[in-house]
Amino acid sequence: MRKNPSLRIYALAYLAFLYAPIVLLPIFAFNDSRVIAFPLQGFTTNWFAEMWADQTLFIAFRNSLTIAVSAAVFSTILGIFAARASTRYKFPGKPGILGLIMLPMVLPEMIVSMALLVVLIAVGVPLSLFTIILGHVLICTPFAVAILTSAFQSLDRSLEEAAYDLGETPASTFRLIILPLVMPGIISSLLISFTISLDEFIIAYFLGGNQTVLSVYIFGQFRFPAKVPAVMALGTILVCISIILLTIAEYFRRRGIAKSGGKDTGGFL
């Protein structure tokens, strides 16, 4: 096919548009002015120091880590059950059950969080980090299922049958054959769920009671114009962390595809 330069230029311009706001983060995080505006005023690392000195940030960050790790682990475990069931077995009500599990993907988060809030209040569960985890597991599970389904789908059924023929039990086959083969999928599911949970705001905001997590902390900082440069500094660090995590996830995803002998079609979704 003939190269079309205008299409290439358009695609590059589009990438520039995608990255434009993010590029501003480090620029203003190191800019020596409380006002986020041009012209730039010179280099400073004060905003990083100011951010670092804030104790609430560390509490919020620790809370977010607790939530994100728990949500990632639980949603990946739930994802393994659902993905294995959907790729390996036929059972009654399958589309309905899987549809319900995947539903949070297409439901506005505000509705998910309000529905949970109403029920939690009615049942009398106090709002805490635990209730945020409950909500986050719910919204991370569909992503875990999607990633793990493609991992389980690329499994060669004959490997499993060979293990049975060689006298392995279903449990040991799962542990010795299937688990290692889908391990890259599990790792990228953990990382993606972790990232989603860390970034999630609505559920954390409404189901957290008086507990602060990172996204809620950031949202609170937006009210104070003087705090904005420190948020830019924090944002710079968060973007770096996300890029590192995603690169690791992408590495494992590609290795998984290479392992099962598939062809790389690109993308997480």
């Binding site: 706001p21 036929k90 059972f91 506005p108 509705i111 309000m114």
Partner: protein
């Protein structure tokens, strides 16, 4: 007969195994999703007063929501914003997906997709806030243009407007639109395009008559993936709209938490879900039509 019974037993055991395996996830979704959603539907049919929820069921809340001027206006605004965002995002995304699928070497495709998805995985809150910083009264655009001497006074049309909300959301959901279109373009059999051109169609006509219809399922998926979260967006109206241009999600929060009227809030939530469902069903039917047209 015996074989049939054995097969039946196998089926049963397969069904039982499958159900057992899916049950932890299914039970979690039933307890924490289906039950709460059912509770919201139930609440929406009650009346919330100071003494608590009434036991009788009524459609009063829905009447209030569907005929109330504020609610109507907010629903219309949410629909408008998310429709425009969806249109803009999908139109802008299509050429990019097309470029990556048809003009990028196979071994570099996943690199492009990776580059496109990175901004999407970085903090949504911060990305939205960055647009506020960029488009604000003393923001990056205004201060940049002023220091370059292009304008003398800050432009006011770009801050706290529907336009800047649309811009922010279109940016936030860009990757969502590109991926499904890309996937559907990848599935197209390249020999069909060659056949089209061999039969004397121009490149443009081949695109319109072969590529575009075949990629429609991806376009429809993109429409839904962008439309659904944007209609329920809370952060952008709050930050970019400055709280002055609320949408449905902000309204649900205000009624449920600030006015503490769970029944009315639930009715708005159910209405929002109905809108989303109706739009989704319309697009899914369109999709089915496209698939049918292809198999003829």
């Amino acid at each position: 007969m015996e074989q049939g019974a054995a097969r039946g037993r196998f089926r049963n055991s397969e069904a039982a195994n499958g159900l057992a395996l899916v049950s932890p996830t299914a039970i979690y979704a039933i307890l924490l999703l289906a039950a709460p959603l059912a509770a919201v539907v139930l609440y929406s049919l009650m009346v919330d007063s100071k003494v608590g929820l009434s036991s009788g069921l009524t459609f009063d809340n829905y009447l209030k929501v569907w005929t109330g001027r504020i609610d109507q206006a907010l629903m219309l605004r949410s629909l408008t914003v998310s429709s425009v965002v969806t249109l803009v995002t999908v139109l802008l995304a299509y050429p990019v997906a097309y470029f990556v699928s048809f003009h990028v070497k196979p071994e570099r495709k996943s690199m492009w997709i990776f580059l496109i998805t990175i901004p999407f995985w970085t903090s949504y809150l911060i990305r939205v806030f960055l647009w506020k910083v960029i488009l604000g009264y003393n923001g990056v655009v205004n201060s940049g243009l002023m220091s370059l001497g292009i304008i003398d006074e800050p432009l006011t049309i770009i801050n706290y407007s529907l336009g800047s909300m649309i811009m922010t959301l279109a940016h936030a959901y860009a990757a969502f639109a590109i991926l499904p279109i890309f996937v559907s373009l990848e599935k197209i059999d390249r020999s069909l395009l060659e056949a089209g051109q061999d039969l004397g169609e121009s490149k443009l006509m081949t695109f319109i008559r072969v590529t575009l219809p075949l990629s429609m399922p991806g376009v429809i998926a993109a429409v839904l993936i962008v439309f659904i979260p944007t209609i329920g967006d809370y952060v952008t109206p709050e930050l970019i709209g400055g709280g002055k241009l609320p949408m449905i999600a902000n309204r649900i929060e205000a009624i449920m938490l600030k006015q503490n009227d769970k029944a009315l809030g639930s009715a708005i939530a159910v209405t929002a879900m109905l809108i989303v469902t109706v739009v989704s069903v319309v697009f899914l039917l369109l999709n089915r039509r496209f698939l049918k047209g292809q198999s003829k």
